[in-house]
Amino acid sequence: MGWISITIALPLVGALVLAVAPELSARGVRAVGMGATVLTLLTSVALLTQFDLSEPGLQLLERFTWIPAIGADVALAVDGVSLLLILLTTLLTPLILFASWSSVTDRLRGYVAAFLVLEAAVIGVFASVDLLLFYVFFEFTLIPMYLIIGIWGGTLRRYAAVKFFLYTLLGGLLMLVAILYLFGQAGTFDYEAVRALELTITEQRWLFVAFALAFAVKVPLFPVHTWLPDAHTEAPTGGSVFLAGVLLKMGTFGLLRYALPIFPDATVEFAPWLLAISVVGILYGAVVALMQADIKRLIAYSSVSHMGFVVLGTFALNATATSASVIQMVNHGLSTGALFLLIGFLYERRHTRQIAAFGGLAKQVPVMAGLWLVVSMSSLALPGLNGFVGEFPILLGTFQENRTAGVLAAFGAVLAAVYLLWAYQRIFHGPLEGADNQNTVDLKPREIGVLTPIVVLIVAIGLYPQPMFDLVEPSVDRVLTEVGVSELEVEPAATTSEEG
């Protein structure tokens, strides 16, 4: 076994312990959860130390025979992109469990086990290099997430869980058909073999649409996004953090890993459409976020807007924008994850998420207010924090390929400031009125401890993002070479313009 399979196995072992161990105290359950996820974090860091930055392709390949009759293997490998997303997953999962330390008491064992299984499945999604295995992991993530929303969620959890399920089911089945077709052509589910296929443009179009639809639902892209606000609102805090932080990235990851390199001609053909959809999503999500009365719904719509930036960067097919879109996946995971954590902490104190119920809290809970502001600034892409080093290169790169898209998307920056600062103003500013507000207590050391690593990363990435760029750029370049656009370097026009 290599580091990748160990990284997937560790949370599963943890879940197994929880399943079979008799008579575990709540403390014991939490210890198993934290132990497994922290070890997973460590092995994923070990993975990073094994990784060769100069090698753009898939590395650290592990292959186990799975279903020999159809040539399906458990084949695992990582490139820079998937490694980064694995690190994001293994960082957020222990933080989620640590954050839910006191808020979840009902059926705790199941709760922790669900997250462990979910973590393993998501790492599997990012690490699979066998299409059938990828599909199994991809669909399997649904089940623990469905349970997390459906069992530990809010009052409308059943509605939200079913909606979440139906949406993703639709996309997933289409992708399965496409995968089976690809298998028919390649005779194997092996990723590199499928990637090497020479498909006709007609085949590419149909298959691209099938894959893109499955991923678009996950991202989620306008107009297949309406499951997200409901899922977020009804999910428990940990569920929201995992959903925004990691699960949505399966969609954008899938686009970059599968849709682009396997269907390069269709990608180039459909790219303008995806840019248009992304821009609509960026602006639409932001405007609808403005009008939300529930803080979780507000952040959910802001995710629609922010994930629009990621897809925009991906389909800009530009070395700068597409690499930055991967960075932006991590940035969104950190800042939106932190926002959902803060919302959860506030909810635990107040049992409401209605913005109108709050006011003047900055006086009462200065630490929470300060952290909330830092995270909001990260989310609205203030330079110096992480959001900017993703968003700006995405916009700059997109502008080089499609000026209209670059300019229109830039207006998302204004709207993000409006909805985030308006929410901040209503919750934390103004007079401290009402007994509920006056009795709200500030963050406890454990809660500050959960947020600290995220805030440190928000600042660190904002000022020194280069290690992340160095990690993903070779892998992204490889994809863009496949799509056949990587030679689109920017020519300085000062030397080419004659009129001057």
């Binding site: 003047g360 916009l395 790169g397 670059g406 409006v418 103003q425 020519e491 300085p492 026009a493």
Partner: protein
């Protein structure tokens, strides 16, 4: 290492790359206050009042460093470049934290850290007893660090980093007393309005990168000459879009009057002397690009002239001690834009410097008065403060005379030089608008001064005004001295020391074909400017000092529709409110309706159908997950079977 870069029209720029000597230490200039900010904020409780000492120490240290670096530039004039680590390097887009230190930087460093230090000192007395005293000083340090990043950045993106961080500091300090809803709203309005300008600035950078393949300022200005005039026109207007927000020009000036919600020393430092001049700095920094498109420059000139006039008209009928100064600041920034637009880049920076002295002074005077008057702000409820606040009175007199353009005070030289340049460069209408705005400036500032300090007291028995403590009056005196002699010392004649010092940093205008408006010489133009100041002061004297003003705003000499419009600020805020909150809100509501009714309606409909189908099959109660997994597995098995049959 010495390099030569050739500017447009063959001016040679001596570029010195160095990491040694004082220039090598320049990175400490923003770092020191940044560490002050972090330190103070992390240890707010433990530090308590000592936070002020730490923040002041950081401001003093960075002032000394800045002075040392500026001295180096003065003694050995050159364009220094201090290499720094990379910030972003991805796909051919590279940005470093490299510092650019030339004559323009030196001037900005001195203004920012000088006024910054004075405001830190002043705040010790002014903010004493505030419940968030340490945090206030932390924010001041953050502002200082941000502004210094702005003026030191050698790349448009690092300049933008500072640009945005000063915006954050401004947001934090305008909303410092966030318990009041209006303060919080003002903070958000400032940030959001600036974001609108930021979009323009960002698109400007996108187009710069598309054109030059870099955002490095020196590369851009040295390559600017080869640019097509259409591209240059677009670029200049895009950067202008950013500048009009930060520097509160038409149409994005509306945030600055509201920003007066912040503590008054903040208004002096951020919203008068330094941050709001960042737009002027940006345009002058890019002046070699500006000169490629004289059409775009003319637009800048008109934006500035109209703002100077419009804001001055509003200032004439305001009653708040700070509101008048806020509109005055907008108007004076208009003069600076006007100057940039007519090709008077160095005159613009000269006015930026003198304005930092006298407007910083006037705001600190306002703070001193408010401190004495139990935070009253209505100038109609003041009067007669001359006797009880002698230091504040005399420094206010100097500040008022300086901004009004009374020779030989600082504002006289800098404003006069802008107006004469407008004339000599052939902008007749703009010159006349500038003269009218100068008359108005002298009028509204004299009105401000008379109603606060002269005449009989109108504040009743409740307040007992007193002179402010030395920590506040010493900065007043320093700034008063600078307002008095700053113009004379820096640039008493048109081609004075400051003008010659800044020469290598600005775009050349000799190829723009400027022709004077008419035959008038400076010998006529200068007295004309003095007459303008005298007329304004005289009118204010007649209206407010020679008449009985005891009945408050009923004592205004003129009434009517025009006066009403000026008083109500031409209803611009109301109009914006209607468009953005009203119409914009309706659009947003329509989109929410679309989202919940149309899109989600379709989804719920589909959901209902599938649930109904489930019921028909009587499988609904067995749980969705199980049936789903079953369907998927069954489907997969069938499909795999079919495919295997094909393969085999």
């Amino acid at each position: 290492m010495k390099l030569l870069a050739v500017l447009a029209s063959g001016v040679e720029l001596e570029v010195v790359e160095t990491t040694s000597g004082l220039i090598g230490l320049a990175w400490l200039i923003p770092l020191v206050p940044l560490l002050g900010f972090v330190g103070v904020l992390l240890a707010t409780r433990a530090l308590a009042d000592r936070a002020a000492t730490i923040a002041m120490g950081a401001a003093a240290l960075t002032f000394v460093l800045s002075a040392a670096v500026a001295t180096t530039v003065i003694l050995e004039p050159a364009t220094y470049v201090r290499a720094m680590p990379t910030w972003i390097d991805v796909g051919g887009f590279t940005v470093t934290f490299e510092l650019l230190i030339d004559q323009l930087t030196a001037v900005m460093l001195l203004v920012v850290t000088g006024v910054g230090l004075l405001v830190h000192v002043y705040s010790v007395g002014y903010m004493h007893g505030d419940s968030r005293y340490p945090r206030y000083f932390g924010y001041l340090n953050l502002f200082l660090a941000s502004m210094l990043i702005l003026v030191l950045g050698s790349n448009l993106l690092t300049l933008f980093l500072g640009w945005e961080l000063v915006g954050l500091s401004s947001y934090l300090l305008i909303g410092f007393w966030f318990e009041s809803r209006s303060n919080a709203a003002a903070a958000k309005k400032a940030f959001v309005t600036n974001r609108v300008g930021d979009v323009s600035f960002m698109v400007g950078m996108f187009l710069t990168f598309a054109t030059f393949g870099t955002l490095d300022i020196l590369d851009v200005v040295t390559d600017a000459e080869a640019l097509a005039s259409g591209t240059a026109f677009a670029l200049v207007l895009l950067f202008l879009g950013g500048a009009v927000a930060k520097s509160a020009q038409i149409p994005l000036y509306v945030w600055l009057p509201d920003a007066m919600a912040g503590p008054t020393p903040v208004s002096a430092l951020i919203h008068a002397a330094t941050m709001v001049t960042a737009g002027v700095y940006l345009l002058v920094r890019l002046s070699p690009l500006l000169v490629v498109s004289v059409d775009a420059m003319e637009i800048i000139a008109w934006v500035g002239a109209l703002t100077a006039l419009f804001a001055a008209l509003i200032a004439v009928r305001q009653d708040g001690i700070k509101e008048i100064l806020a509109y005055s600041t907008i108007s004076q920034l208009g003069f600076m834009f006007l100057a940039v637009g007519v090709g008077a880049f160095r005159e613009s920076i000269f006015h930026l410097v003198t304005h930092a002295f006298f407007k910083g002074l006037l705001f600190l005077v306002a703070g001193s008065v408010m401190h004495a008057m139990a935070n009253r702000t209505d100038i109609w409820q003041m009067g007669g403060l001359r006797k009880v606040m002698p230091v504040t009175f005399w420094t206010a007199a100097i500040g008022t005379a300086a901004i009004a353009g009374v020779p030989p005070l600082a504002g006289f030289f800098s404003k006069d030089q802008i107006l004469t340049e407008a004339y000599f460069h052939g902008y007749g209408a703009i010159w006349i608008i500038g003269l009218v705005a100068a008359v108005l400036t002298a009028f509204y500032m004299s009105r401000w001064f008379i109603l606060i300090f002269l005449g009989r007291p109108r504040y009743g028995e409740v307040v007992h005004p007193h002179e402010s403590p030395p920590s506040m009056t010493v900065p007043l005196i320093v700034l008063a001295v600078l307002s008095a002699i700053g113009g004379l010392a820096l640039n008493a004649v048109h081609t004075g020391p400051l003008y010659r010092f800044l020469e290598p940093t600005v775009g050349p205008i000799d190829q723009l074909g400027y022709e004077p408006v008419g035959p008038l010489e400076e010998a006529v133009l200068i007295p004309l400017a003095i007459v303008a100041a005298a007329v304004g002061i005289l009118l204010a004297y007649l209206a407010y000092a020679r008449r009985d003003v005891s009945s408050g705003r009923m004592s205004e000499p003129v009434s009517g529709v025009g006066a009403e419009l000026m008083e109500r600020r031409f209803f611009v805020d109301e109009a914006y409110e209607k468009v953005f909150t009203g119409a914009g809100g309706r659009v947003a509501q329509a989109m929410v309706w679309f989202d919940t009714r149309v899109i989600d309606g379709l989804v719920d409909g589909a959901g209902a159908v599938s649930v109904a189908i489930g019921r028909v099959g009587r499988r609904a109660q067995t749980g969705l997950v199980r049936s789903y997994v079953g369907v998927v597995l069954l489907g997969a098995i069938v499909l795999v079977g079919v495919l295997m049959a094909q393969v085999v």
